[in-house]
């Protein structure tokens, strides 16, 4: 039995035993029936998914003009969504890889769905820029392909770097996620009653027999990929940040962006982890595995990352003033008091104001408060991207070119729809695959027993 000091809730509740763990976890995919509210939830998000599909089709058929885009603001919602999703996509890798290398026990029971979250978020992030092209059918021109018309991509363009950064990130996350799944798939295969399930999980388990030999290889490979994935945590979002940093527009052209974007990514990433973790543990009786300790730790990370983000805001303003550049100064002034001023203040309220609550343990340890806070921060982080992308563009160098941006229903359709798709797939994931890593939780339980 784990005996943590009373003040800290345990990483794994005493209830968890070698017998109960696989049973409890595999109950969700294999279990006979899931609660009706699960299907209600799924239904709702599936409906949103249809909205997504419709909006996408509409944009592809009618043309990119159906989105709220103009000159000067030729980038808007899709790019904002991309940056937002890739940010959310960050927590997964951090939890899985970095915390694994740092031997953080508490990661074990949340890494699996965090990785799934990463995978989906990153895919959505990768999808938006392609949809956002004027001629999406030619997106592959960003790749160096041996086509009969010679020109290759222009390596000086951050967009090409993006293309590869996000691509790499997707592949590595996928591998990492699937690697981790293999032993659990084997467990499901063995526990499954119906032939269909057995075959399905069996195929995916790639003939895992759980021999010491297998485990040895598994551990090695898993750590290797973890090591590979770790730099990506920093690289991906830094590269995305370079799209802005390397641009000339005041409000884009700022060297603070890479670190500040990465921090923002972790911030929103962990917010999303909490957003998912809380209902997960509440609805599927996983309190035993995802304890308040996890929520608490996530909150601490958010506190840290959020602090860096806040610093980012301050430094932006400071450097605008210190640079003495009239355009930079005007940009900051306009952010705060221009057409979109109200968004700026909302952003501060969400990302900096709400954050302060996390100083209180009571808040960190009340799951539903945390859930609410996470929501607020998710929203705040989206607004942050809007402020950066849109306000900078609509007020750049020549006042004659200034204009405002009018989002259309397709914009909101894409945003809401992508959320729908994301959560619908999360539901399916929870339904079909072990949402928690059985093997690692068992391992954790074992370690705790040894320790205790």
């Amino acid at each position: 039995m784990a005996s943590d000091p009373p003040r800290d809730p345990p990483v794994l509740s005493p209830g968890a035993t070698p017998r109960s763990i696989p049973a409890a976890i595999s109950a969700i995919p294999l279990g006979p029936k899931l609660p009706r509210r699960f299907w209600w939830g799924f239904g709702f998000f599936f409906a949103l998914t249809l909205v997504f599909l419709f909006s996408v089709t509409w944009v592809l058929v009618e043309g990119i003009g159906t989105l709220g885009l103009d000159i000067p603001a030729a980038w808007a919602f899709p790019i904002i969504n991309t940056v937002w999703w890739i940010g959310i996509g960050h927590a997964g890798t951090l939890i899985s890889a970095v915390l694994l290398l740092l031997r953080q026990r508490w990661r074990n029971s949340i890494n699996r769905f965090a990785e799934a979250m990463t995978l989906l978020a990153a895919s959505l992030a990768a999808f938006h820029p392609i949809l956002h092209l004027g001629r999406p059918q030619y997106f592959y021109w960003l790749l160096p392909l041996p086509v009969t018309h010679m020109p290759w991509p222009q390596w000086r363009s951050p967009l090409v770097w993006d293309f590869f950064a996000i691509g790499t990130y997707l592949i590595v996350s996928l591998l990492f996620w699937y690697m981790g799944l293999i032993p659990d798939l084997a467990v499901l295969r063995d526990r499954a009653k119906r032939r269909g399930a057995q075959v399905a999980y069996g195929l995916l388990a790639l003939g895992w027999r759980g021999s010491a030999h297998h485990w040895h290889r598994f551990e090695t490979a898993y750590f290797l990929i973890a090591a590979l994935a770790t730099p990506l945590v920093v690289s991906v979002h830094s590269v995305i940040a370079l799209d802005f940093t390397s641009a000339i527009i005041p409000g884009y052209h700022s060297t603070i962006f890479p670190p500040y974007f990465v921090a923002g990514a972790l911030y929103s990433g962990f917010a999303m982890v909490v957003t998912i973790a809380v209902p997960l543990r509440a609805f599927f009786g996983l309190e035993a595995f995802i304890t308040l300790r996890h929520i608490d730790n996530a909150a601490r990370v958010m506190l840290g990352a959020g602090g860096v983000v806040a610093f980012g805001y301050v430094s932006e303003a400071y450097f605008a003033w210190y640079s003495g550049d009239e355009y930079e100064r005007y940009m900051i002034w306009n952010r705060a008091f221009g057409d979109y001023g109200w968004l700026f203040w909302t952003m501060l309220a969400c990302n900096v104001g709400a954050l302060q609550l996390l100083w209180f343990r009571s808040v960190r340890r009340s799951q539903w408060t945390m859930f609410a806070l996470a929501m607020v921060i998710n929203i705040g982080m989206w607004i942050e991207r809007y402020v950066i992308v849109v306000t900078s563009l609509t007020r750049d160098f020549l006042p004659s070119a200034w204009n405002t941006l009018a989002p259309t229903w397709t914009d909101f359709g894409l945003l809401a729809g992508s959320l729908g798709l994301f959560f619908a797939l999360m539901f399916l994931f929870v339904r079909l695959l072990p949402a928690l890593s059985i093997s690692e939780v068992e391992e954790l339980q074992h370690e705790l027993k040894e320790a205790g």
């Binding site: 000067p72 030729a74 001629r135 021109w141 991509p153 967009l159 750049d396 020549l398 070119a401």
Partner: protein, 955 residues
């Protein structure tokens, strides 16, 4: 060939049975004329579809090549068929444009143009340097005339009582008409013309009146209601003090292009000659001339007489009155050497005209800065007479040559009633407008570019109009109509014009056609009109809550003549940047006083007649005045009216100013669409302005360090310099760019969404405030930066630097990330958010496309390329002939169109080139220099020549 009545009857019968819907399109097929269009469409389906109407064989021959090219133009639709000429017209070389000299007749006066044709398709008009009315310059109307030529809403067939008839039938009708009236000496018959200077028309009318002495000739022109017998001709380049008495001589009147050129020539401040003329302007509502003025004084539009008398008095006594405007003027004119000229407006009151003349005489301007000539216009009785004649029954039948009187007649004149009283009304015009629909007969007019005709320039020189293409929609010239009336059914349009010029032997005739001008035909100076003494009218000082409404012709639509031209509809108005509609323009104070704001809808009512318009806040407006543009709301079959017809407010006694107009705010909103939303420079160094006294300024451009490698330009290094002191903001360059580069018209909603597609824009900023509030123009094409922010961010190499220093945009490579536009500090890039130009096969506008420029597909970025098709053509030519490109031989479309020669373009490597010299001037500067993008397009600062400009607050 004419059709007998019986034949017409049977024709009607067969039509009923033939094809009920759109039957007129196959009229030729069933008509007595025999099925040309039938054969035709069988032969060239592509063209036949484009021209649903009869076309003669010459057109088809000319258009054969065109069909091929235009098929290709749609892009990504390779046409597999390829058809050669059967009998190749002389001198035509497929793939090579040809230029023909002709003229456009605008408000009756000729503007000489050179028409570029590709395989017989006119695609672009340039000014004819040899023609006094153009001097090589053009304006937006001239540039976009080719759109009207092709646009599908032109009238396509002769109508009798709205039913399709034939030209032959009309000729027969004319014969009958003639039989009726010759015997009666023409009593009861009338001809209504617009402003006209055509010698051929004059000859024909004289001949008719010789035959029918009682034949009445009426004249109606909404833009120039008065038609004085003697008119002034100015030479502003000879003046050093120009005093505009609320005259918009730079933008209005037949001499506007010449004026713009002379004016800007008198103001080119350069290192060797740092002097410029000084323009004083009295100004009611803001005008391009007022904006260009060094010293400006706002007056209440009704109060011009007062202001002028004040000035006259001050100049008489030589005692500077309180007003600094007058004080300076007196001082300036006191100076012995001052060469002043006074300019009254076109619709001047008798007093203003007389005073201006007196002052011009007093200051020795007459004979030097201004001469007077007999008006080249054909005289005619005004519209009021026509109405009274119709009511009194003195007029029975009327032939209308052009003017859409139902649209342009003042609201208090019951022209509709008058015309309905008449036994027969025959209408000849380009469009099926209200007048055409009311008329018993309508004959489609040939476009100027399809016509044999002639016309005179503002100073009297005559030029011949020759067709660049056979009539597309079966139009005929007004000469052919009058010829029919004169019983001449045989002579061709050409013969009718040739007959007017027996003095020219064939050699001289061809020379006239080639040069676009008849040498030595300019009018001789006559004695100025006899000095009359008229008392100045005292403006009625209305109650403080009343407002004056000033009705002015729209700068592009004019009186509505061009209201069907969508290129013009979408071209931002010079001062307001409004597109697609007219508004009630008022100053912020006036708006505040009336309790209205931008986009509110107001109802303006004057003596019982009302118009409903959205409010537009226009800072330049004087207090208590609302300006409304005329020419909108013209109802033309086949196109929805744009804006609201304000002629209903106009009064028969002319004068565009209505006092005592009541304004009522309606509970509605209408978004006024403009292309510029922010009007202050925010204290940024964008349009540089400096006082003449401060010239030459010391140049300080510290060479900034850069990490980018230097581009080297082996042959040419193209560059452009734009003289902000010469630019009058007329927008001719923008129109020229659009036509040259196949830029689409995107429509009102799209512009409202910030999707307009003009590659070149003319920014308009306000500087200063109160009385010395100034309006500054700045044309902004692509800067062709040497270290271009757009180039480094394109992921697919779709925008790249060329060996001669252009940022080439490769449309077929672009995937549309729009990152380049993001990163462009000047925001000069335009994006095809939708497929703006995927022409249906039968869209005649595809004939308008320039075959040397790709038509861009949906999702592709596009931008100004210094007219790369022109520079490339020159380079290829130079390369073939192994001869260098001479300076000035390559012109960009904007440069060539500019009437004031504000744009210089050329090779910077050639140190002696004009553009290199311009860039060497002390007041040259680059826009957003501090970004170190090294723009190839630079500006010459605007220079103010106000007496007090020593202490100038250059914003």
């Amino acid at each position: 060939m004419s059709v007998t009545g019986s034949a017409r009857g049977t024709l009607r019968g067969r039509l009923e049975t033939a094809a009920p819907a759109r039957f007129w399109q196959v009229l030729e097929e069933v008509s007595a004329e025999g099925g040309f269009s039938h054969r035709f469409s069988a032969e060239f389906p592509e063209i036949a579809e484009r021209l649903s109407g009869a076309v003669d064989r010459r057109t088809t021959l000319k258009l054969m090549g065109a069909a091929l090219l235009s098929a290709g133009l749609a892009g990504c639709k390779p046409s597999k068929g390829i058809a050669p000429y059967v009998d190749q017209p002389e001198f035509t070389v497929p793939g090579k444009p040809r230029f023909y000299a002709t003229s456009l007749v605008l408000d009756g006066y000729a503007i000489g143009v050179l028409g570029e044709t590709h395989e017989g398709r006119p695609t672009k008009l340039e000014g004819n340097p040899a023609h006094p009315g153009s001097l090589g310059g053009t304006d937006a109307i001239v540039q976009t005339a080719v759109y009207t030529l092709y646009s599908a809403d032109r009238s396509r067939y002769v109508r009798r009582g709205g039913q399709p008839a034939t030209w032959g039938a009309f000729q027969a009708e004319m014969a009958e008409l003639r039989d009726t009236y010759v015997s009666r000496g023409g009593a009861g018959l009338g001809v209504l013309i617009g402003a006209e200077t055509s010698p051929t028309l004059a000859r024909q009318l004289d001949a008719l009146q010789a035959e029918m002495p009682a034949l009445a000739v009426y004249r109606h022109s909404a833009t120039t209601p008065r038609n004085p017998a003697v008119v002034p001709v100015y030479r502003f380049d000879r003046a050093d003090v120009i005093v505009s008495l609320d005259a918009d001589f730079l933008a209005e009147g037949p001499g506007r292009l010449a004026h713009a050129r002379q004016f800007s020539d008198s103001r080119r401040v350069r290192r060797e000659a740092a002097k410029m003329s000084r323009l004083y302007a009295l100004e009611g509502v803001p005008s391009l001339t007022g904006v260009a003025a060094d010293v400006r004084r706002k007056i209440r539009p009704g109060a011009l007489d007062e202001a002028v008398s004040e000035i006259a008095a001050a100049l008489e006594s030589g005692a500077p009155a309180g007003d600094k405007f007058i004080a300076w003027l007196v001082a300036d004119l006191g100076a012995a050497a001052s060469r002043a000229v006074f300019v009254p407006p076109l619709d001047a009151s008798l007093y203003v005209e007389a005073t201006a003349l007196a002052l011009n005489q007093r200051f020795g301007a007459v004979g030097d800065r201004v001469i007077y000539i007999a008006s080249p216009e054909i005289a005619g009785a005004p519209l009021e007479t026509l109405v009274t004649d119709a009511e009194s029954g003195r007029l029975e039948q009327l032939v209308i040559l052009g003017p859409d009187v139902l649209h342009t007649a003042p609201g208090d004149l019951d022209i509709t009633g008058a015309l309905q009283r008449l036994a027969r009304v025959y209408h000849h015009g380009l469009h099926v407008d209200r007048t055409a629909r009311l008329a018993h007969w309508h004959v489609p007019a040939a476009h100027d570019l399809e016509s044999w005709s002639d016309g005179r320039a503002y100073e009297g020189s005559a030029s011949i109009l020759q067709p660049l293409i056979a009539p597309l929609y079966g139009g005929v010239t007004k000469h052919q109509v009058l010829a029919a009336l004169a019983g001449d059914f045989t002579s061709s349009a050409q013969e009718l014009v040739r007959g007017t010029w027996p003095s020219l032997n064939d050699e001289a005739w061809f020379e006239a056609l080639k040069s676009g001008l008849i040498e030595g035909s300019a009018a001789a100076a006559t004695a100025p009109p006899a000095a009359t003494s008229v008392a100045p009218a005292t403006a009625v000082d209305g109650a403080t809550d009343a407002v004056d409404v000033v009705l002015r012709p729209d700068p592009y639509f004019s009186d509505g003549t061009h209201a069907a031209n969508l290129f013009l509809a979408e071209l931002p108005r010079p001062l307001t940047k409004i597109v697609w509609g007219n508004t009630a323009e008022m100053s912020p104070d006036t708006a505040a006083r009336l309790g209205v704001a931008q986009d509110d809808v107001v109802e303006l009512s004057a003596n019982g007649r009302t118009v409903v318009l959205p409010v537009f806040i226009h800072p330049g407006m004087p207090e208590g005045v609302i300006a409304v543009a005329l020419g909108f709301g013209r109802e033309i079959e086949g196109s929805a009216p744009i804006g609201v017809n304000a002629f209903v407010l106009a009064r028969r006694d002319g004068g565009g100013v209505l006092s005592e107009v009541t304004v009522q705010k309606l509970d509605a909103k209408e978004h006024v669409v403009t292309t510029q939303h922010h009007h202050s420079m925010e204290g940024r160094d964008i349009v540089r302005e400096l006082p003449l006294a401060a010239f030459p300024p010391e140049r300080n451009e510290p060479a900034q360090p850069t990490l980018y490698p230097e581009y080297e330009n082996p042959e040419e290094a193209w560059g452009m310099s734009i003289d902000l002191n010469a630019c009058i903001g007329c927008m001719a360059c923008v129109a020229a760019c659009q036509v040259e580069n196949n830029s689409p018209v995107v429509g009102r909603e799209e512009v409202a969404r910030g999707h307009e597609m003009h590659w070149l824009r003319v920014d308009r900023y306000y500087a200063g405030d109160g009385d010395d509030q100034r309006t500054l123009f700045q044309p902004v094409p692509c800067m062709q930066c040497e270290d271009a922010p757009c180039e480094v961010v394109c992921p697919v190499n779709a925008t790249v630097h060329t060996a001669d220093g252009i940022n080439a945009q490769v449309y077929n490579r672009c995937v549309g990330t729009r990152y380049c536009s993001q990163n462009c500090p000047y925001k000069v890039r335009r994006f095809n958010f939708f497929a703006y130009q995927d022409f249906a096969e039968d869209n005649p506008l595809s004939l308008l496309m320039n075959p040397d420029v790709s038509v861009r597909e949906r999702g592709v970025m596009e931008k100004c390329t210094y007219c790369v098709q022109r520079t490339r053509a020159a380079q290829i030519e130079a390369n073939i002939t192994d001869s260098p490109i001479t300076d000035g031989s390559v012109m960009t479309a904007c440069q060539q169109a500019c009437p004031s020669r504000a744009i210089t373009f050329g090779n910077l490597k050639d140190r002696s080139s004009a553009v290199a010299r311009e860039k060497g001037e002390p007041h040259a500067y680059a826009l957003l220099e501090e970004l170190n993008t090294k723009p190839r397009t630079t500006y010459l600062a605007r220079i103010r020549n106000a007496p007090d400009s020593e202490e100038d607050d250059g914003e």
